[in-house]
């Protein structure tokens, strides 16, 4: 167990180090194969280890690496329980497919080896994050994930936009990290330890006051909002689309952005004590879901549609975990990983086939040219739109059901979720129609073609998962919920309604999906309407929030910093220092004439002084 669990991390870590050193020499496609094999290896080990949990409730296990920071009561220690197993499976499973796809997508890129070492670094970091057995190690993974996303987003560093996007992602994430670090401070100050067991058991025994729990939970939410691109820290994710498309799929759809959801689920014991904080999580999630969905409607860049869609779907997950439906949140995390990775990889395939074109207004009619891409993306489209029996339906429906069941104001949130579902169906249909149907609107010289096998195989596999992935947790057979039960044993879980109410809610949400799809088909069926005007521009630019941030933080901040650096520091503080210096010099200048250069006048002064002193002493009556 010790070694095999460690190997899950060591394999991609080894791949990363190997490719970091020799990636160029191994070359293409060797580097890609090495990296892919490393992740596939981790996946297989994880599958084998996870079997213990499926056949009965295998207990959670820990693997200690070495004594790390005893002052904080933490070791470098891994935790293997159902939740981390599920996350590991998603990360390595989807990760393997994306690695495979990248071998085709990155063909001919001069940074081929570097790219795969970064991908492996990302998988390593993500695994550290989900396998950590304490907050400190979780934070290590959390930060390393941020590093890998920085490296991957700005992978094509010659492009200034990409470099800026990477930096932005890291810095916005760091803002969230402040919340995380502050939460760690509070946790440490209460428990004297950052170990999961100590903290959660302590929380259970009531060592945490409600105020403290609320503070900790809200701060954790800040961290989670940064990583999972929730309001108001979502701004980095759309920009992150400057990275290569597989990166968008891996990091910004399937895995990294779900870290926040994972963290909230993991710390359920704390959120349980802080109902206000938990409700805040749900509200932030709901608001983000609706907000991002409206923006997604007006995007012309296919990847930006998906980016905002991701933000919106993450909002759903937050709604779920905020409503204490951890299983539902994690379930949606999983199905979303399947269909969103599929959508991104499909979009990548489209972009690849269109020679780099990303504007959907310049696509159209691609269904016939790229049949596999079309077919697989169509499945993902139905999945995300919440059409049964595809994966998205089950998970989304469960979240909405739980939220409805909690009653009271939560039902407002349910309404928000429902509207979002409708909008989701609408913008996804818009995307499908603009891309695959209608008249071709390609630029001259663009010859769309289906992508190579290496890229379509992962699409097909993910499509399969998007079809059946939802069946692991249906109201009829809640396998996943039972699987995760031991993890959330101590936490009070919220549940979806049963009986006729469940059927009614399901019918309503399916209806919302169908209405959204229908409306979009009606609108885009025959021609591409002109999408201009105030509303479209407002939505297309994401309510100009990015510009506001840029003006306030980058612009205003720079002005302030300039003032501090070049006025206050140089003129003020250093001015005072240099002022004392020049004052001394000036004083010296005034005294200069005293030094005549005539030795005898100095001598006279000395003697005069001596005589004067003598006289003074004598006048006082002796020395």
């Amino acid at each position: 167990m010790d070694l095999s669990l460690s190997l899950i991390i060591f394999l991609p870590m080894g791949g990363m180090l190997l490719l970091f050193g020799f990636g160029k020499r191994i070359g293409e496609p060797g580097a890609g194969i090495v990296a892919t094999l490393a992740v596939v290896g981790s996946f297989l080990i994880a599958v084998v280890l996870a079997f213990d949990f499926i056949n009965g409730d295998g207990p959670a296990e820990t693997v200690r690496w070495f004594e790390w920071l005893p002052a904080f009561g933490v070791e470098a220690e891994l935790r293997w329980d159902q939740l981390s197993a599920l996350m590991t499976l998603v990360v390595t499973g989807v990760g393997s497919l994306i690695h495979l796809y990248s071998i085709g997508y990155m063909r001919g890129d001069p940074g081929f080896g570097r790219f795969f070492s970064y991908l492996n670094l990302f998988i390593t970091s993500m695994l550290i994050l989900v396998l950590a057995n304490n907050f400190a190690l979780l934070f290590v993974g959390w930060e390393l994930v941020g590093l890998s996303s920085y490296l991957l987003i700005s992978f094509w560093f010659e492009r200034p936009i990409a470099a800026a996007a990477g930096k932005k992602a890291f810095i916005v994430n760091r803002v969230g990290d402040v919340g995380f670090i502050l939460a760690l401070m509070l946790i440490f100050s209460v428990f004297g330890s950052l170990g999961f067991d100590t903290v959660f058991e302590g929380a259970h025994r009531g060592e945490l006051t409600v105020t403290m729990a609320t503070a900790i939970a809200l701060l954790l939410l800040v961290g989670a909002a940064g990583k999972s691109a929730q309001l108001p820290l979502y701004v980095w994710l759309p920009d992150a689309m400057e990275g290569p498309t597989p990166v968008s799929a891996l990091i910004h759809a399937a895995t990294m952005v779900t870290a926040g959801v994972y963290m909230v689920a993991r710390t359920g014991a704390i959120f349980e004590l802080a109902p206000i904080a938990a409700a805040t999580v749900a509200v932030v999630g709901g608001a983000t879901a609706l907000f991002a969905a409206t923006i997604a409607i007006a995007q012309r860049d296919i990847k930006r549609v998906l980016a905002y869609s991701t933000i919106s779907q993450l909002g759903y997950m937050f709604m779920g975990v905020g409503a204490a439906a951890y299983t539902a949140g994690v379930f949606h995390l999983m199905t979303h990983a399947f269909f969103k990775a599929l959508l991104f990889l499909g979009a990548g395939s489209v972009i690849h086939g269109m020679s780099g074109e990303q504007d959907m207004h310049k696509m159209g009619g691609l269904a016939r040219k790229m049949p596999v891409t079309f077919a697989t993306m169509a499945i993902a489209w139905l999945a995300i739109s919440g059409i049964p029996p595809f994966a998205g339906f089950w998970s989304k429906d469960e979240i909405l059901g739980v939220v409805f069941e909690r009653g009271g104001l939560w039902q407002v949130l349910w309404g928000v979720g429902l509207v979002t579902a409708l909008l989701t169906a609408f913008y996804m249909t818009r995307m499908m129609w603009l891309t695959f149907f209608g008249e071709p609107r390609w630029d001259d010289g663009v010859e769309p073609h289906e992508s190579p096998r290496l890229m379509t195989v992962p699409l097909v596999v993910l499509a399969g998962l998007s079809v059946v992935g939802g069946l692991v947790n249906t109201p009829f057979k809640a396998t996943l919920e039972h699987f995760l039960d031991p993890v959330f044993e101590a936490v009070h879980l919220a549940h979806a309604p049963d009986g006729s109410l469940a059927w009614i809610l399901a019918a309503v949400s399916v209806a919302a999906g169908i209405i959204g799809i229908g409306a979009a088909i009606l609108r885009y069926r025959s021609r591409v309407p002109v999408e201009d005007g105030l509303g479209w521009r407002l939505l297309g630019n994401g309510y100009y929030i990015d510009d506001v941030y840029a003006g306030v933080f980058a612009g205003g901040g720079k002005l302030g910093a300039d003032w501090l650096a070049f006025r206050f520091d140089v003129r003020g503080i250093d001015g005072a220092v240099e002022g004392i210096g020049s004052l001394t010099r000036k004083a010296g200048g005034w005294l200069r004439p005293l030094q005549t250069g005539f030795v005898r006048s100095y001598g006279l002064a000395i003697i005069a002084g001596a005589v004067g002193l003598l006289a003074w002493f004598l006048s006082r009556g002796g020395i």
């Binding site: 005294l591 200069r592 004439p593 005293l594 030094q595 005549t596 250069g597 005539f598 030795v599 005898r600 001598g603 006279l604 003697i607």
Partner: protein
Amino acid sequence: MAVTPGWYMALAAVLFIIGAGGMLLRRNALVMFMSIELMLNAVNLTFVAAGRELNVLEGQVAVFFVMVVAAAEVVVGLAIIIAVFRRRQTASVDELTQLRG
């Protein structure tokens, strides 16, 4: 007439005033130097005289210190004067006003 310490003191004072006068009135660096020596020795005289009168040894110890320091000073001072003379062809301090502020 007994030679009381007062005489020594008076002699020292006279010597000191001669030295000081020479120091102030002469322009030649060498002569000024000799005047300084005169002043130093005037002080030595007071040390010795006072030491004998008070019957303590420190007076003579101080004299040795002064003599050693004076000798060292002469070595450096003379060397400087000679070097200056070689360069400037003069030892008159009134012409050596380079260090005017």
